[in-house]
């Protein structure tokens, strides 16, 4: 633990390991991003990519980078960061490593919203809006069902699993109602995909991050840390338990909903990123910033795999995160059970 003391009574406390993980993760994500922009049927050297990003480069390079590849990449980074951050908040609030928005039904709710639009024959903008609305509505429902008596412990997780089951059923039914072409499009959306994402998809996620990251991270992180010790302990230390919880839960649901609107319900990322971040920082607490950074790097890497792993054939990124994230989680849990003292 490093303490920085500044004149005027200001003091900051930093964990060196968490700081290193955050910086290294950011660096990794940026390097990956430069390489990813250069990769594809029309390869561009990293130096040329940097030249374009600095405002130069040939017109052809400029067009491919800023119009075709960069939007998708920025969307991946923003969605990954949003899901990582939201997952960390959810796991912290539920005090449960499985308490992620996928398990609790928020992402299923977003899918339901999107499917309703598909069945009704709406366009892309309506679909994104309905996805965000579906996620938020599910968040409210969860809070109404389980939040009043405190979301701690298993209550929220159990209610969330129930909500997920119902929504999965509803989603299946909606898929059967959709015309065949639309059903195919909907199935792709439900898997989670970054295919053809442009600035219009990236900007809302970036905006949500710009507002909620400081609001959740700076203002609520210490209180969230205390909440992990139990509601009573936190209240005894002067945390306004209900206010902090509503604010943090609201912010996390908003992030998940906006992310789902941009890229569909990308599975397992919100569950995996905080786990990985915690393993790397070895710090107790929600690890918000490292989770966001790890989430961004993970989704970017997964999307590159999805695009280039099988030559000539693109996979939806949700397939990659599902396979890798699920596998990682199974491996983690199996190892933990064996290795527990």
């Amino acid at each position: 633990m490093i303490v920085l003391r500044l004149p005027g009574g200001l003091s900051l406390r930093l964990r060196p390991r968490a700081l290193v993980v955050g910086l290294a993760g950011t660096l990794l994500a940026l390097v990956l991003a430069v390489l990813a922009v250069g990769a594809g049927d029309y390869p561009i050297a990293p130096a040329d990519v940097l030249r374009v990003l600095a405002g130069g480069g040939s017109p052809a390079d400029r067009f491919i980078v800023t119009e075709l590849r960069l939007p998708r990449l920025v969307t991946a980074l923003a969605v990954g960061a949003a899901l990582g951050l939201a997952g960390a908040v959810f796991q912290s609030l539920t005090r449960n490593p499985l308490g992620s928005p996928d398990v609790l039904g928020v992402t299923s709710g977003a899918a339901t919203g999107a499917l309703v639009v598909v069945v009704a024959g709406g366009g892309s903008a309506a679909l994104a809006g309905a996805a965000a609305g579906g996620g938020l509505a599910t968040g409210l429902l969860l809070y109404a069902l389980a939040g009043r008596h405190g979301v701690g412990g298993h209550r929220l997780v159990l209610v969330g699993i129930g909500v997920t089951a119902i929504l999965t059923g509803v989603n299946g039914w909606l898929l059967t109602r959709a015309p065949l072409m639309d059903a195919a499009r909907a199935a792709l959306w439900i898997t989670g995909s970054l295919d053809g994402r442009g600035w219009a998809n990236a900007v809302p996620v970036l905006a949500a991050l710009a507002v909620l990251l400081p609001a959740v991270l700076l203002a609520r992180a210490p209180a969230l840390r205390l909440l992990e010790m139990g509601d009573d302990s936190a209240a005894g230390l002067g945390v306004s338990v209900r206010r902090v919880r509503v604010a943090a839960l609201g912010a996390a649901v908003l992030l998940v909903s906006v992310a789902a609107a941009a890229a569909g319900p990308v599975s397992f990322l919100a569950l995996t990123a905080p786990h990985l971040a915690r393993r790397l920082t070895r710090a107790p607490g929600p690890n918000l910033l490292p989770s966001a950074v790890v989430g961004a790097a993970l989704l970017l890497a997964a999307d590159q795999l999805a695009q280039h792993a099988i030559a000539g054939r693109q996979l939806p990124v949700g397939v990659v995160t599902g396979v890798l994230g699920g596998g990682y989680l199974a491996w983690l849990l199996a190892g933990e059970r064996g290795g527990r003292r």
Partner: protein, 289 residues
């Protein structure tokens, strides 16, 4: 009700910073206590006792601002505790709850430093004063040498001392403890209670604890509150109020009371029930107390 106390030198026996007035307490629609009035004398070591489900922990939760009374008010320094900001209350009143969980891997030093939360801000995360107070709290509770150990590796007694250290780091004149000795063996129970007594006597803190053991309560308390069925049956100096009648009334336990040879405080000896007919208390024994 607030009897004077011979132990406290810093004590002004007639004042109470923490008072519960005409409290009706309950969860959802179940009422646990009605029209309950309790004052915690300043500088006292107040212990609340009573049989299971008599509302003693509920009362402590209300006094600690964890539970909002259905009716009545809890006054801290004369103001409704629920109308004051949580952080401000946490600088006056510390709490050791029953249900505290130490997150995986958290070290003793980190846990104790969390007690500084009500004194910290966004840009004042760790002042020299914070550091000094945390070191002092760990020294006072004898956990300084454990500072770098993870909390989840400690024994029950050590862990309880660490939680008390965290509450001490809060630097509050009032400290509330909800069953601090539960799940501890007898040696650790005494260790924790001795620590509480020391905090009370040497640092002049006002302590309120819920305890199960009547003997320990009578030995350590300077002010005893005996509850049954959500009401206060008696309150005052244990030497004056602990009688066979009171124990019979509060716990329904026939007993004899002798003087504790160690401390001179009342020592409650449950009467022998001869196992004559099964489940039927022998009348001769009951008559003896």
């Amino acid at each position: 009700m607030t009897g004077p106390d011979e132990k406290g030198t810093l004590m002004r026996p007639d004042t109470s910073r923490l008072v519960g007035e005409a409290l009706t307490l309950g969860y959802d629609r179940r009422t646990v206590a009605e029209d309950l009035t309790v004052a915690v004398p300043d500088g006292s070591f107040t212990v609340i006792i009573g049989p299971n489900a008599c509302g003693k922990s509920t009362l402590l939760r209300a006094l600690a601002r964890l539970l909002r009374p259905t009716r009545g008010t809890v006054l801290l320094d004369g103001a409704d505790i629920h109308r004051r900001p949580a952080r401000q209350v946490a600088r006056t009143l510390g709490l050791l709850p029953q249900s505290a969980v130490a997150p995986d891997g958290l070290t003793v030093g980190e846990l104790v430093s969390r007690g500084r939360y009500p004194h910290q801000g966004l840009l004042r995360q760790w002042s020299r004063e914070d550091e000094r107070v945390v070191d002092q709290a760990m020294a006072d509770t004898g956990v300084a040498e454990l500072a770098d150990r993870p909390v989840d590796e400690l024994s029950g007694g050590q862990r309880q001392r660490v939680w008390i250290a965290m509450a001490l780091a809060q630097q509050t004149p009032l400290l509330l403890l909800d069953e601090p000795t539960t799940y501890l063996d007898i040696a650790h129970q005494v260790e924790v209670l001795d620590l509480c007594a020391r905090l009370h006597e040497e640092q002049g803190r006002t302590l309120v604890a819920v305890l199960h053991d009547l003997h320990q309560a009578a030995r350590y308390a300077t002010h005893l509150v005996a509850m049954r069925d959500g009401r206060v049956v008696a309150a005052g100096d244990p030497r004056q109020i602990v009688t066979t009648e009171l124990v019979e009334e509060v716990f329904g336990l026939p007993c004899r009371i002798i003087e504790d040879p160690e401390t001179g405080t009342p020592l409650v000896l449950p009467a022998v029930r001869r196992s004559g007919t099964e489940g039927e208390p022998a009348p001769a024994v009951a008559g003896r107390c």
